[in-house]
């Protein structure tokens, strides 16, 4: 087991380096000269060639690529991603709190999603083909085909306007969590519950269940064993749920004016605030890879067969 962890972590390091490098060179994608972008962002009225050149030197953009990359990497490891083009404030001072807010939303949503998926998945698998199963599947199918913002808008309209129960914007109190979390959970629980359900169903059809019954093991014990096996699949999927939800909150945050990562990123994109976008990409890519690795390790811990592969 330890060997597997080591191997996984070993693969991780080079990957992270490459990711960071790519993220850094992301700037080069832009058709506009980065210096020019800075000036635009700051709203400088007349941008001349000399000004661009001067800004370039000032921001250190005329140094060789690798040197810049190295500096950037070192700084990033200390959470210094430079300054925002628009506001001039350090990126992390904007990104950090936004990340925290989004994390809160994500974690709360993830917990509910996991709980709901497991409960529904197990119930539907055990009552497969019956009314409960069919109706839950039908409803969840529709819900996952629904754009999140549409659902959000509906809920906002209903709960906030018609019933005037819940707040619809900002992150002020516990009750302001309710609507955004509900929207996210409804959208995602549909997908994950099916994973749990399918996993359980395929396990229920396995021979070891038959053999267990043939040896006289009671149904309830067998169900527990099946559940344990099914959850392995589910956990690996859930492991990735957090980073995915982390990013998918963009739209929900927008609707509910949640001061999180999504809102920040959209504003940055519209304002072409590259350092923030860069930092966002880096942080999320790293988080993603880490979660991926973590989920693989967890999986291998639970399912000894996987330890042989890499």
């Amino acid at each position: 087991m330890g060997l597997y962890v080591l191997k996984r972590v070993g693969v991780l390091a080079p990957l992270l380096v490459v990711i960071s490098f790519l993220t850094f060179t992301l700037n080069g994608l832009s058709p506009m000269d980065p210096a020019e972008v800075v000036l635009h962002a700051q709203g400088v009225p007349s941008i001349t060639e000399e000004l661009i050149a001067a800004t370039r030197t000032e921001l250190g953009m005329d140094r060789p690529l690798l040197a810049r990359y190295w500096d950037w990497l070192l700084a990033s490891l200390q959470l210094d991603f430079g300054d925002s083009y628009i506001t001039g404030k350090p990126v992390w001072s904007l990104l950090g709190p936004a990340l925290m807010n989004t994390l809160k939303l994500t974690i709360v949503s993830s917990l509910f999603i996991i709980a709901l998926s497991i409960v529904l998945g197990v119930l539907c698998a055990l009552r497969e083909g019956r009314w409960l199963d069919l109706s839950v599947r039908g409803v969840s199918f529709l819900l996952t085909s629904m754009p999140a913002y549409w659902l959000a808008a509906l809920m906002v309209w209903y709960f906030a306007v018609k019933l005037d129960l819940l707040p619809t914007s900002g992150m002020d109190s516990a009750s302001s969590y309710v609507l955004p979390v509900a929207v996210i959970v409804i959208g995602y629980a549909g997908i994950y519950f099916r994973v749990v359900r399918s996993s359980m169903l395929s396990n229920l059809n396995e021979d070891y269940v038959l053999y267990g019954r043939a040896c006289g093991i009671p149904e309830r014990r067998l169900t527990m064993h099946v559940l344990r096996n099914s959850l392995q699949v589910a956990v690996s999927v859930f492991g990735l749920a957090i980073p995915i939800i982390l990013g998918s909150t963009v739209v929900v945050e927008n609707i509910f004016a949640w001061p999180g990562l999504g809102t920040l990123t959209v504003t940055s994109i519209l304002g072409r605030d590259f350092p923030i976008i860069q930092a966002y990409v880096l942080v999320l890519a790293v988080a993603f890879v880490l979660f991926n690795t973590g989920s693989d390790v967890l999986n291998a811990a639970m399912n000894p067969r996987l330890r042989k592969e890499l």
Partner: protein, 297 residues
């Protein structure tokens, strides 16, 4: 085509296929179907309800909602399909090469794919849109960049499985060229896999593009696009909620149909997912979509 016949046996799958096909056709021939030009503003008709000449009423600028809906198929659905196709072709080509020739080509390509797949999809999209600016073309580019690695990976696996088959070795012995083998033997076998993956990505991509447009990062005004229509409707959501209805329902209908079709396809191609056999239901395949998200992401 046998596959198609089997697929159509399930009534719901046939219905979804009809919906998707109809949508594509209507979008392609939008000028023929739309009763009015989509960008024609008539201020005196602002927020008008449904009427004989404007079946779905008018929006906040007096434009015909139905026409905008129809023209909106183009960016929301058709262009997404095109981007998906491009990603699929590009990814499949690379996957073929990697899976067939193996060795160093394979190793290099797979490392590249690994890196590409390490970036979550939406991050990639936002990054590209962020760097290149908002707009439909950039979003589509982002989609292609996001998805090609996924296709490449899966195709490579499929090709590796088939390339080892005896009949391929036989063809080699007979002196068939590489390209010929790929085309005649491996491609038909891998095609269903490609179809399943592509269709499962289709639905989520439609949702994504409309989401991005909703945020204002997508197609530029005044072009019609479903997500943007909802964005525009948002400002009057409390007074005129009905404006949100039409594009929302359109999206739900199309995405549901696409997802359903994808599940049906998958079910046909992988009978193992046929669960307990009491009733051949198409829902069972849907799990793979969720799991493929894991693979992709």
């Amino acid at each position: 085509m046998k596959l198609l016949k089997r697929l159509l046996k399930d009534k719901l799958a046939a219905a979804s296929l009809a919906v998707v096909a109809a949508t594509l056709l209507i979008g392609l021939f939008a000028p023929l179907f739309a009763p009015h030009p989509p960008n024609e503003a008539n201020m005196e008709l602002r927020f008008a309800g449904a009427s004989w000449s404007y079946w779905l009423g008018n929006d906040h600028l007096g434009r015909c909602i139905l026409s905008r809906l129809i023209y909106g198929i183009r960016p929301s659905v058709l262009w997404v399909l095109a981007a998906l196709g491009a990603a699929a072709c590009f990814g499949a080509a690379l996957g073929f090469v990697a899976g067939y020739f193996r060795g160093r080509v394979d190793a290099i390509l797979m490392r590249v794919c690994d890196v590409m797949l390490s970036f979550p999809g939406y991050v990639m999209t936002l990054a590209i849109v962020g760097m290149l600016g908002a707009g439909l073309a950039n979003i589509l580019l982002a989609f292609v960049v996001m998805k090609w690695a996924w296709f490449a990976r899966v195709i490579r696996t499929a090709v590796m499985q088939y390339a080892d088959a005896d009949y391929v070795k036989f063809a080699k012995v007979l002196g068939m060229g590489h390209f010929g083998i790929m085309r005649r033997h491996i491609a038909p076998a891998a095609l269903p896999e490609i179809a399943v993956i592509a269709s499962s990505a289709f639905g989520s991509m439609i949702l994504q593009i409309s989401g991005l447009s909703f945020l204002g990062l997508g197609i530029e005004a005044p072009h019609a696009e479903w997500g943007m229509m909802m964005n525009e409707a948002r400002s009057v959501m409390f007074t005129r909620p009905e404006l949100m209805l039409a594009p929302g329902l359109a999206i739900i209908a199309v995405v549901s149909a696409v997802n359903f079709l994808s599940d049906a396809l998958q079910k046909e191609l992988d009978p193992k997912l046929a669960v307990s056999g009491k009733r051949t239901s198409v829902f069972a395949g849907g799990m793979m979509r969720g799991l493929r998200k894991k693979e992709a992401a």
